[in-house]
């Protein structure tokens, strides 16, 4: 509510400033023109030196340029102010979401620790509780990592260990791991397509990519998530089509979903938890691999397809390969 009000006031101030501005401009032109007419009428009689010539139009033209320049600057400042307001709003949402995401696993860990301290818990239950605590600790760790890795420096660290992989086996392994992590049953996902090409990739980074895609497929499906990953390879590039049968994304949201902190609200599935960082990280990781990711969806309740394109190993320049694989050589030495 406060955000909306402050935006309203900013727009109001902007409109008032523009009106004042136009009024002053009008007065200035009126003043100049009326003086000019008077000057032209009486100029000859008063003093022959003050006869109008072309140079006298200079102050008027310069004044106009100045006014146009100022008007342009005001618009620029207003535009930046709007961007700033939008970033502040996104940042506030992010803080709210992150607080929630941090506190939930922490509350769970605290609950189990206090339970173990205060009660005589049978050994079997004790083991189960420890497993839950470890799961929550993992969740906290991955959340903290995702927050830290939005900084470029951390992102670079993550992208240090490049190796050459067979696309099919790498994608299969990563999707299977992610599906297991997010409890997608084996009969609810399939990986199809060409297996021949190789890619240069950081496995840790691509794990984050597929974790995010699978997690989103689960969170944004009203029923059991269904996932199909299709691989298309040629000599130049590897294409991975990651399709889910979830609630889909409306056209005007499709571009925004890769923005930092951006989150979709869908009334069919309200209150989906998250930080708004997942797909931003996915895009950055794919970009660092020299690839690109685009999203398509026919609309609400028609599923979503993420198309990831990455350069094939064979098609990469020697210089880029040398740069990416330098750590691999070092580790072999």
């Amino acid at each position: 509510m406060r955000g909306k009000h402050s935006l309203f006031y900013h727009i109001l101030i902007f409109i008032i400033a523009q009106l004042v501005w136009l009024l002053l401009l009008g007065i200035w032109i009126y003043w100049y023109v009326s003086n000019y007419i008077v000057f032209e009428k009486v100029g000859d009689q008063v003093s022959p030196q003050l006869v109008y010539d072309v140079q006298n139009a200079l102050p008027f033209i310069l004044g106009l340029i100045l006014l146009i320049g100022l008007s342009f600057t005001t618009s620029l400042i207003f535009r930046h102010l709007n961007v700033q307001l939008r970033i502040t709003e996104l940042y506030d949402n992010f803080i709210g979401n992150v607080t929630h995401e941090l506190k939930s696993p922490l509350a769970s860990i605290q609950l189990y620790l206090e339970t173990l301290k205060q009660r005589e818990v049978p050994s079997e239950k004790r083991k189960e509780f420890i497993d839950f605590m470890m799961k929550d600790a993992d969740r906290l760790q991955s959340l903290i990592n995702s927050i830290l890795e939005i900084s470029a420096q951390e992102q670079r660290k993550l992208l240090q260990n490049y190796h050459v992989y067979n696309t099919y086996f790498l994608v299969k392994e990563l999707i299977e791991e992610s599906c297991e992590k997010f409890r997608v049953p084996k009969d609810s996902y399939q990986i199809t397509g060409d297996a021949s090409s190789e890619i240069v990739a950081s496995k840790d980074a691509l794990k984050i990519v597929f974790d995010n895609l699978v997690d989103n497929a689960v969170k944004y499906s009203t029923q059991q998530a269904k996932i199909v990953a299709s691989l298309i390879c040629n000599t130049k590039k590897v294409t991975i089509l990651f399709t889910d049968l979830g609630i889909g994304i409306v056209a005007n949201e499709q571009k925004k979903i890769f923005n930092k902190f951006y989150r979709i609200y869908n009334k069919a599935i309200p209150n989906v938890k998250g930080t708004g960082l997942g797909l931003y990280r996915v895009k950055e990781i794919i970009k660092a691999h020299g690839g690109k990711i685009i999203v398509s969806s026919e609309g609400e309740n028609k599923g979503t397809t993420f198309k990831i394109e990455m350069p094939a190993y064979q098609a990469m320049s020697k210089r880029r390969l040398k740069k990416l694989l330098k750590n691999e050589k070092q580790s072999q030495v």
């Binding site: 769970s108 189990y112 339970t115 209150n271």
Partner: protein, 236 residues
């Protein structure tokens, strides 16, 4: 715990699986019967089919959020105590939760012992209220008639249904008519809470009573604020 509350049925509405399993275990160990709803839709569904003595309700829930669940529950059962349990810390959320009909609010992470004490306190208040309302069930002030037993009130032509927490606060104030009652006293005796923790809850509930009964809630004639002290009920 008091033997009387063993077997009380609690509806636990929590979508965080690990947290819910831990809570369920502890509540069962205390002797309660627990039904776990993983989302708002299931919570409404279970509530309509079964009778519960208390609801522990998370706010951020899939499908229907906790505020809406509380609102729907309140419409059909004004008596059931609702404890909101959430990771949201903004005071706006807390006020909203209490306005939607929650009786108490705890933020995550919480201490197990405190949660169990609050649950027990709420069940105790519910049972105390049921027996207290048997003794003195009716009260009148101005054009207002209150039936503490059914929680129904009539303000002129308007029908109002109080929550047990509102009714308990009203009953406490009515019994001390003309006396200054401090927020601390109300927290200790009506909410059974540590008064050091907070006093905002009392203000929210007083605001609710004013909204129901005062001709002009901004200039109260029945529920007066005594600056620096607390509140005073003046039934005429």
């Amino acid at each position: 715990m008091t033997e009387d509350f063993k077997g009380s049925k609690i509806l636990l509405v929590e979508d965080e699986e690990t947290l819910a399993i831990g809570l369920e275990y502890n509540l069962i160990e205390e002797g309660y019967i627990v039904k776990w709803a993983k989302n708002g839709r299931d919570a409404i569904d279970f509530f309509e089919k079964e009778k519960f003595d208390l609801i522990i309700l998370d706010i951020m829930l899939p499908y229907i959020n906790g505020f809406e669940v509380a609102e729907r529950v309140r419409k059909s059962d004004p008596q059931i105590p609702i404890l909101m349990l959430t990771a949201k810390t903004e005071s706006g959320n807390k006020i909203k939760g209490l306005e939607k009909g929650a009786d108490d609010y705890m933020t995550k992470p919480f201490h197990l012992q405190e949660l169990l004490l609050r649950v027990k306190g709420m069940l105790k208040r519910k049972s105390w209220y049921t027996s207290a309302s048997q003794k003195q069930s009716d009260y009148k002030f101005g054009l207002i008639e209150i039936n503490f037993k059914t929680l129904n009130c009539r303000n002129g032509d308007e029908e109002i249904r109080l929550t047990p927490q509102e009714a308990m606060l009203l009953k406490y104030l009515v019994e001390r008519k003309g006396e200054i009652v401090t927020r601390k006293e109300l927290l200790e005796n009506v909410w059974h809470l540590n008064p050091e923790v907070e006093t905002r809850t009392v203000d929210i509930f007083i605001a609710r009573l004013r909204k129901y009964f005062e001709p002009d809630p901004s200039n109260p004639v029945y529920f007066k604020s005594i600056r620096g002290a607390g509140y005073m009920f003046e039934g005429k």
